[in-house]
């Protein structure tokens, strides 16, 4: 199943963006203002592309909205509920708009919304509001769910509960497209990650592919200050770099594997150095992300 094919350009927010999401969980990752929400809202039919074409489940989200809407679940970044409505009341209402909704009581139980009781939406905590929005997105048993920053501002327990639900959705054959700027969320959940920056997809692939591609790993150790880094570098395979980062802490960057680790420790043994606090850092999605999108602060 192909969940989404999308191409459109010339708009400043989203600039010639190509994205294909397949079945499973797709994470759209990007810094603030990268165009994540614009992209997702175009798929949801809220925005008309200025050019290019968008197809969701094979349908045009604007022209074929009536056919598409029942098949898609939407979680907005915020709001979407009458301020005077109770959580269960709103969820039951959304369920009534669908032909075969989930069991509302079970969903309330699962997402811990039972404790909201008779409290109106505007008095719920941010976490409760988020979980209600998530419940509203899945209650109609959609084929595809859009989650716009589903765990922004959640406490760790609520975050886990959201992740578990996303995993269960995936296991039951629901496709999920979520935007996030949490790297661990994308690493944990996504089959496929699209990194967006300035309205373009700058990288796409599985988290493993993205972490492997081009990226180098880092080995760090501490020792006495002023070791002969040039001599260490000579012992290392070509393509590696070595440096004393701060006094007494050293960093080796390269294709860090068992062989390289052995080379470093044996060099230390030859030079009578006890490598204190030796560590190997796997290249994370965060490194890839910062490499691709730069380190400066965004709007």
């Amino acid at each position: 199943m192909q969940a989404l094919v999308k191409r459109y350009g010339t708009k400043t927010a989203v600039d010639g963006l190509d994205l294909v999401a397949r079945a499973g969980v797709t994470a759209v990752l990007g810094p603030n203002g990268a165009g994540k929400t614009t992209t997702v809202e175009t798929c949801e039919g809220y925005r008309r592309p200025d050019s290019g074409t968008v197809r969701v489940l094979g349908l045009d989200p604007v022209r074929e909205s009536a056919a598409l809407r029942p098949r898609v679940g939407v979680m907005l970044q915020s709001g979407g509920v009458y301020s005077g409505a109770r959580a269960d009341e709103m969820l039951r209402h959304v369920a009534k708009l669908h032909a075969h909704p989930l069991d509302v009581d079970a969903l309330i139980e699962r997402l811990g919304l039972g404790s909201c009781g008779r409290t109106s939406y505007r008095r719920l905590s941010g976490g409760q509001q988020q979980r209600l929005a998530l419940a509203m997105a899945v209650v109609g048993r959609p084929e595809l769910v859009f989650l716009d920053e589903p765990t922004a501002g959640l406490d760790p327990q609520a975050r886990r509960a959201t992740w578990d639900l996303v995993r269960d959705l995936r296991a039951d054959g629901v496709s999920v497209i979520l935007t996030t700027h949490y790297m661990d969320e994308a690493e944990q959940l996504a089959d496929d990650v699209a990194v967006i920056d300035a309205g373009r997809v700058v990288a796409q692939g599985s988290p493993e592919e993205l972490c492997r591609g081009g990226a180098e790993n880092t080995l760090r150790f501490s020792g006495r200050p002023g070791l002969d880094v040039a001599s260490l570098l000579k012992a290392l395979p070509s393509g590696c770099t070595a440096a004393e980062v701060t006094s007494g802490t050293y960093r080796v960057v390269g294709d860090v594997g068992p062989q390289l680790l052995a080379t470093v420790t044996s060099w230390c043994a030859q030079h009578g150095v006890m490598p204190d606090r030796i560590s190997v850092e796997r290249h994370t999605l965060e490194d890839v992300f910062l490499e691709l999108t730069g380190k400066e602060l965004r709007a």
Partner: protein
């Protein structure tokens, strides 16, 4: 893909009538639960009717005060629900993304608007019942053709709904809140609701008479107080406002 999982896709829209009924029921519950809305739609009209119906604050001309007042209060009730209440509620629904979220639900937009209209009409029926009971208790003796009254109320609702939705769909929620209340107050005073239009200077009367609230209150008065048949002039004014307001709302309404 597991065929039997809890979350296995089984999408589908509910039947249209069920969606609209559910939406209308929810909208009505939200309205009746909201204290400020009740103040506008129930308490103010009731208070004005009881106060001016029992105490001679304004000289209301010949005859029983309540015979003059009841049609005006009915007009006020329609305005409070169809215009002020609907504008404020819809403005905040737009602001808080309720309209946006519902736009991605299986309920079509026209279905949402139909549900809103049903909710307004249900509220108005409750208001008319309340005002009628109180007015009758105060000695009201209504005359005229009930069909004319119904037609005036329906056209008045259409006119005020168009204006209310135009405001809610174009202004910020806070601006709508302020403006809708201000307009309510101005039209309450200047629209023939409790102050007879002939107390104003002639030039002002001509202009005030063209307002939807004046057309509705004077039209209702022609029928209920003076036993007129069809008040065509007032119905015409209301029809023009309804067409213009609804057309403008349809054209300029923004969902977010």
């Amino acid at each position: 893909m597991t065929a039997t999982g809890t979350y296995s896709p089984k999408p589908g829209a509910a039947p249209l009538t069920r969606m609209i009924a559910a939406q209308a029921a929810l909208e009505t519950r939200m309205l009746l639960r909201n204290g400020e809305q009740l103040l506008l739609t129930v308490i103010i009209p009731t208070l004005l009717l009881v106060l001016f119906g029992t105490v001679d604050v304004v000289d209301l001309g010949e005859g029983e005060a309540v015979d003059f007042l009841a049609p005006g209060i009915l007009a006020l009730a329609v305005m409070s629900t169809a215009f002020t209440g609907q504008a404020i509620a819809t403005g905040f629904e737009r602001r808080y993304g309720v309209l946006k979220r519902l736009a991605s639900s299986p309920l079509p937009r026209w279905g949402l608007m139909t549900a809103k209209t049903i909710s307004v009409l249900v509220t108005e029926v409750l208001q008319v019942l309340l005002v009628t009971v109180i007015a009758l208790a105060l000695g009201w003796s209504p005359r005229g053709n009930p069909l004319s009254v119904l037609l005036l109320l329906v056209l008045g609702t259409a006119a005020f709904s168009g204006l209310g939705l135009l405001m809610a769909g174009t202004l910020k929620a806070e601006a709508t809140l302020a403006a809708a209340n201000l307009v309510f107050l101005l039209l309450l005073v200047g629209g023939g609701v409790i102050v007879p239009l002939d107390r104003f200077p002639d030039a002002a009367q001509d202009v005030l008479g063209l307002l939807p609230i004046s057309a509705l209150s004077e039209g209702l008065r022609d029928v209920l107080q003076h036993g007129a048949g069809m008040p065509w002039g007032e119905l015409g004014i209301l029809a023009v406002w309804a067409v213009a307001g609804l057309a403008a709302a349809g054209k300029f309404f923004r969902w977010e």
